[in-house]
Every structure is written in structure tokens, then in C-alpha cells.
């Protein structure tokens, strides 16, 4: 029995719209896929899930038609399943360890089933349960997956939570980074409505470290969680990088996603390139490429390693290829060329893979005499991000690594009493599920600390 393939919007059509690409399982497809799960006694898949979702249990509930039960099972460990089902790198996590992977028709589509259950719950208005006790006050800084998860767990335990978010909308990367066609913003809104129903207060337009300081929050609240992410974009450091027409992926995606620059009604401008080069090969690079494609461009992706090393989710790479994104692999930019201050092309070199480096991947080395030029009118740089220095510069008591990430232990504890941190702010740019896991751990250690202080 082969893995059931999720229906998708046809590529020729979808490159002209921002609607969701992957359409989700129908009830019959879901049932068919759920019945492929062997219900292993010692399920290997669970070891691959950073938050330990009870995968065979929820799948057996889907099989039995107990959707409510399946949803409750998932949400014990995962507060944002509709989102994780769509954007987790399942092929490197749970699905990588599924016993069906190699010889039995492919791994069970765990992510797709998780999404199916979560979408059912959102459509049916299933709301989380809340315990009313309101004994403690906790501030959560940043409203990405780490902050949202921490806030939700604390609120469910009866804590008074206030989220402080710098931007005008809640969701972090979920609203400014990941595009509509991969993660509909309606869905993020519904998840956030659940938080509000738990009594979580949300203060947007507050930059902690500017509008209000961490020490003030520590005075006012019993504990503080920092989940400010790793938003600061890195650039190539080559000549021509500040020409007009060179964007960081964050700027490009923020203009399009958060500010809706693709809609006529939006006042936020975006340059629509005809021939766009995207540098990088992670999820962010795929999102930027596919967004540029939808805004009408021919898109070439430039990456210095080979296809096997591309860090993006497999599904995103496939979808990008289907949409006609050209992959220019083993190639690296050395200069962005300009005319009258605007991008006109790029000078590149060919690379070859040498000995493995610290990351275990083979190190790309420049091929002598391989310099060449291509024409383009826009460049989007997606090389990764690091934490912004606002908290660091405004709160000297807190310990940071040389890379600018906050130092925190397994439980999210920092060197400052009652101050916790998690997500990309402590790991550097990573994944949604790791950020959620960190938010969860911190919520439980915050509860422990507050409850034991009370005794």
C-alpha cells in the first residue's frame, strides 16, 4: 500500500495566485492513509518528534473516527498542530523513522494527518479548556511560535499572561515570513483567537528594550519569557549589495506577507523584478523564490552546495521545481552588478565540494577560472538570520553567547532570576517545532518556580 499523496493546486495555475498550494486530505484520503499506520508497540516515529506527540494514538483515533479524541491527543504536546502539520520538516523528523519508510510504500504521512485533524478542530470551533485561578502574572516577549506556545500553556494552567509584540500583528515568522500560499494567515488568526479565549492579553506595537524595559517587566510580573526570535538578516558581504533592488528575504517577505504588498489595496510598495536571483537554499529561499514567481518573475536560485545539501523541506523544493524555479547549484555570487544605482546582474563563480566541514557537509571550494556573469534586475538574499541586539543592548544583566543568542539551560532558565528564554532567540534560526518545544519547557519550569515559591 503506497503513501497517499495530498492533492495540490496545479502549478500552472498557482503561480498566478497566493492561495494555499497543498489542499489537505479529504476524509476518505485521511482514512486510507491512517489505516496504513501499523500502530507499532514501540513507535520509532515518536522519538523523531521534538515535542513527543503520541503519533500512533492519534492516528488510531482518526481511524476509529474519533476526531475530537485525536485532536485532544495531539494538543497535549503540540499547541499549534494546524501550523506544524503544514511546515514542520517531517521527512527529517517523525516520518524519517517510520518503519514503512523504505520497503512498505513510504512513511505514513504523519504531517498531513496532523493537519487534517487540526483543520477539523478549527472548522468545528474546538476551543482549549482553561482553568481559572489567576494566581500569577507572566509577561511573554515576542509572539512567534515560542511565545505563543509558552503563553498558551501558562494560560491553560490559570496564569494571567500578557504578550508584548514589536510588530502590529501577532505571530512572528508565521505572519511576516511564511507566505500565504504555504500557511494561510486566516489559520494563524484562528490559533491566536484561541489564545485570546484563554484570557491572554496581547499588546502589539511594544518593542521590549525600547518601549518598555526588561527590568520593568521583571518588577511588574512574577516571571518573564523572552521569545524574540532571530530576525536580523545576514548579507553576502559582496560589492553591490546595497544597490536598489537588493532585498533581504525578510524584507521581501515582510512587504508581501505582513504588509500585503501583492494586493492592490495595500500602500506598501514592492519592486516587481522580471528576472530575480535568490541566494540560498533553505525554506526562506524557497518562500522568497516562489513569492517572486507569483509576482511575475523568472526566478533563479543560486546555492553554493549541491541539491543533496539543500536545507529546505523536501516538499518546498519539489513545489519550487514544479513552479519553474531554476536551480543554479554549486554556484556562488562574488559581486552584484549595477547600473545607475540599480541591480543589473550578478558575477558568480562555480564551486566544487571538498572535504566535510564542521557541520559534516562537504565544504564548497571555488573552481579556478570559473567566473561568469548573468543578467538580473533583482536579488533576494536568504542566507540566514541572527537575533536582533535590542534586548542585549538594553539589558546588561542578561548573559549572551558571542553569536548574540541568549544563554539559557534546557528548561529555558537564564542567568537572571525569573527570566526565561526560548526559540530562535537562544538557538539562532532553527525550526518552528523546536521553538514551540522551548516555549513549552519554559512554561512548565515557570510554573514550577512560581508554585514552589508560593509554598
Amino acid at each position: 500500500m503506497d503513501r497517499v499523496v495530498m492533492p495540490t493546486q496545479n502549478p500552472a495555475e498557482r503561480i498566478h495566485n497566493f492561495k494555499e498550494v497543498a489542499l489537505g486530505f479529504t476524509p476518505s484520503l485521511a482514512l486510507e492513509e491512517a489505516s496504513r499506520c501499523l500502530g507499532c508497540k514501540n513507535p520509532p516515529c515518536m522519538a523523531g518528534c521534538p515535542v513527543g506527540v503520541k503519533i500512533p494514538t492519534f492516528i488510531s483515533q482518526v481511524k476509529a473516527g474519533d476526531m475530537d479524541g485525536a485532536y485532544r491527543t495531539i494538543t497535549i504536546d503540540n499547541n499549534l498542530p494546524a501550523i506544524c502539520g503544514r511546515v514542520c520538516p517531517q521527512e527529517h523528523q517523525c516520518e524519517n523513522l517510520c518503519v514503512r519508510k523504505v520497503k512498505l510504500g513510504g512513511s505514513v504521512a504523519i504531517g498531513a494527518l496532523e493537519r487534517y485533524v487540526a483543520d477539523w478542530a478549527l472548522d468545528n470551533g474546538v476551543m482549549p479548556e482553561k482553568r481559572d485561578s489567576n494566581r500569577f502574572k507572566v509577561a511573554v516577549v515576542g509572539s512567534g511560535p515560542a511565545g505563543l506556545t509558552c503563553a498558551s500553556d501558562l494560560a491553560k494552567a490559570g496564569v494571567n499572561v500578557t504578550i508584548f509584540e514589536a510588530l502590529h500583528e501577532v505571530g512572528g515568522v508565521l505572519v511576516y515570513g511564511i507566505p500565504e500560499f504555504r500557511l494561510p494567515k486566516e489559520l494563524v488568526k484562528k490559533e491566536i483567537a484561541k489564545l485570546a479565549s484563554l484570557g491572554v492579553k496581547i499588546e502589539t506595537n511594544v518593542v521590549v528594550g525600547k518601549t518598555i524595559f526588561v527590568h520593568e517587566l521583571l518588577d511588574e510580573f512574577d516571571a518573564v519569557f523572552i521569545g524574540t526570535g532571530a530576525g536580523l538578516p545576514m548579507f553576502l558581504g559582496v560589492k553591490g549589495e546595497n544597490l536598489s533592488g537588493v532585498y533581504s528575504a525578510n524584507e521581501y517577505l515582510t512587504r508581501v506577507n505582513l504588509m500585503k504588498a501583492y494586493e492592490e489595496s495595500s500602500s506598501t510598495p514592492i519592486l516587481k523584478g522580471k528576472s530575480v536571483v535568490v541566494v540560498g537554499a533553505g525554506n526562506v529561499a524557497m518562500d522568497a523564490s516562489r513569492t517572486a514567481r507569483r509576482l511575475g518573475a523568472e526566478v533563479t536560485l543560486v546555492y553554493r552546495r549541491s541539491r543533496a545539501e539543500m536545507p529546505a523541506r523536501e516538499e518546498e523544493i519539489l513545489h519550487a521545481e514544479e513552479e519553474g524555479i531554476k536551480f543554479n547549484l554549486l554556484t556562488n555570487p562574488v559581486e552584484i552588478l549595477g547600473e545607475g544605482g540599480k541591480v543589473s546582474g550578478m558575477r558568480l563563480v562555480k564551486m566544487a565540494l571538498g572535504e566535510p566541514d564542521a557541520s559534516g557537509r562537504r565544504r564548497p571550494v571555488v573552481v579556478e577560472g570559473s567566473e561568469h556573469e548573468i543578467k538580473c534586475d533583482q536579488v533576494i538574499v536568504a542566507l540566514g538570520t541572527s537575533p536582533n541586539p535590542i534586548i542585549k543592548n538594553s539589558f546588561k544583566d542578561l548573559a549572551f553567547s558571542p553569536k548574540g543568542t541568549i544563554l539559557a539551560d534546557e528548561d529555558g532558565k537564564t542567568n537572571v532570576d525569573r527570566l526565561y528564554a526560548g526559540g530562535d532567540a537562544i538557538t539562532g534560526a532553527a525550526t518552528l517545532i523546536l521553538a514551540m518545544g522551548a516555549g513549552k519547557k519554559s512554561a512548565s519550569s515557570i510554573l514550577n518556580q512560581l508554585q514552589s515559591a508560593e509554598k
Binding site: A166, V207, T211, L232, N242, S265, G341, N388
Partner: protein
């Protein structure tokens, strides 16, 4: 009063208005040299404006806005009592002139509004300073009496309709020629003006500080839209600035970057004006 409510709106000169906005959290920590980012409405873009004045008691922040594009015109059409959709700040680093004893403040165009809080602060600190204000003609000045009450104020216009005819750089040369000495020139205004003031300052062996009014989106270091080259390195105006050593800024690059959306902006404005 509601969050981000416009409490007053005053015409300062043609196409320039001062808005006083109710924003308790912004007013609480605001300092001279910092800025806010606002959105007028749900479909609005995020645009930065320098904080021109603030009152911690009244919980208000003042900004001065020249009507140059779609957003600033939309703002001009808003009435007293209406609320802005978003208003976040104070962003960027406050001005720090504490290491200097004698200071020359130079403001060009709407930039003169921006040096008003610095002038107030220097006066409060009992610092030795003078002010040069420059603009195209006499209609473009405001706060003149206030400036004059704070320090010796020199006025320059392109057409000589008020003050001396000429450029702010001419006035700087004149003051230096009279034997006046300054430790630093603090210049805010259009990019070409800051470029020439900084160049002159370097030639005169005086340190200069300029305030970069880059295009921005988030204002928290997340997008890199505001990047400027300073001393050959990439800096973010929103978190490393907005003020930089005037002798080290790549102005020509900043000028082309600032015109990135000029064409698009022009069509937007035409649509509004009909």
C-alpha cells in the same frame, strides 16, 4: 483618550503639519533623536517619523510631517479625534552630545523640526550652542521664535526671502570666519545637505553627526531595508542609528536607496490626487 488618538493637528507651513498623538507608552521613554513608526489604517504602510517633542505628563508625542507621498497625504486627511492604527516607539538610539562643549545645530527643510528637541535639551543642560536653519524660502520656517529663545539662530534661504541668501554651508563658513569654534556640527535635513555639511566639517577639522532618514519597514533590525554604509560597513539605521559620524557615511548610496520606490510612489500619489 484613546490609544494613538490625534489630539491636535497644526499647519506649520504649506504642506507641513504638526500632529500631537496620545501614546502613553511611547511618551514614557522617548528621548531627543529617536523616532516612531506609524500606520494610518489597516492597509497603510509602516513609515518612520522623528519624534519632535513629547510630554511625559500628557502622555503625548509630537511628529512633524511633510506631505510628500501617499501615506503622508492620507495622514493629512485624518481629523483631530481620529486614531492612528499603529504607533510604535521610541525607536533608534537617542542623540548623545554629552561629550561636546560647543555645538552647532544645522537643520534643513523639515529637518529643522527635528533639531528642536535637541536644542531644548542642550538649553536645559546649559550647553554652549548655536543654530543654523536653512530652507528654500521664508514660507518653510516654523518654530522660529522658539528656536531664537533657545540660542543664537541664523537663517538662510535659497532666495533670500528671509535671513541670508545662500546655503547652510556658506553660513557655517561665515561663522567659522568670524572666529567661532565648535566641537561638533549636528546636521539633519535632506541627504545632499547632510553630505555637504559633513564634507565641509571634515575640511574644517570638525566632527560631524548626521541623522539618516532611511526607508524602513519594521524598525527593529528585522528587514535590513534601512541599511547604510558607514566606514565601509553595513549598519542598520533603525538599531545602530539613526545618527552616524557624518564623515563616514556613503551618501550617494543612501540617495539612490532612498529613491527605490519613487516611481511606484508617484503612481500612488496620482491615484490619490485623481
Amino acid at each position: 483618550m484613546e490609544k494613538f488618538q490625534i489630539l491636535s493637528k497644526t499647519d506649520l507651513c504649506p504642506r507641513v503639519k504638526e500632529y500631537v498623538v496620545y501614546a502613553p507608552m511611547v511618551a514614557r521613554h522617548a528621548k531627543a533623536g529617536q523616532f516612531v513608526i506609524l500606520r494610518t489604517d489597516e492597509n497603510g504602510e509602516r513609515v518612520p517619523f522623528t519624534i519632535c517633542d513629547y510630554s511625559r505628563e500628557n502622555c503625548t508625542v509630537s511628529i512633524m510631517v511633510q506631505e510628500v507621498g501617499a501615506t503622508t497625504m492620507r495622514l493629512a486627511s485624518m481629523k483631530v479625534g481620529e486614531c492612528l492604527k499603529d504607533f510604535v516607539g521610541p525607536l533608534g538610539n537617542p542623540t548623545d552630545l554629552s561629550q561636546f562643549d560647543s555645538i552647532l545645530l544645522v537643520g534643513g527643510g523639515i529637518g529643522s523640526a527635528v533639531i528642536y528637541p535637541q536644542a531644548k535639551q542642550l538649553k536645559a543642560e546649559n550647553k554652549n550652542f548655536e543654530i543654523i536653519l536653512g530652507a528654500r524660502n521664508k514660507d518653510l520656517f516654523f518654530y522660529l521664535d522658539e528656536f531664537k529663545s533657545l540660542a543664537p539662530t541664523h537663517i538662510v534661504t535659497d532666495d533670500g526671502s528671509i535671513g541670508t541668501k545662500g546655503l547652510v554651508t556658506d553660513k557655517i563658513n561665515e561663522l567659522i570666519g568670524e572666529g567661532k569654534r565648535f566641537d561638533v556640527i549636528f546636521a539633519v535635513g535632506p541627504l545632499p545637505m547632510m553630505k555637504f555639511v559633513a564634507k565641509l566639517a571634515t575640511n574644517l577639522g570638525i566632527k560631524s553627526i548626521v541623522s539618516m532618514n532611511s526607508l524602513m519597514v519594521d524598525g527593529t533590525g528585522m528587514c535590513g531595508c534601512c541599511r547604510v554604509t558607514v566606514d565601509g560597513k553595513v549598519k542598520y539605521a533603525c538599531i545602530d542609528g539613526p545618527e552616524f559620524d557624518g564623515s563616514l557615511v556613503d551618501y550617494d548610496e543612501a540617495i539612490t536607496r532612498s529613491s527605490t520606490y519613487r516611481e511606484i510612489e508617484q503612481t500612488h500619489v496620482c491615484n490619490i490626487r485623481g
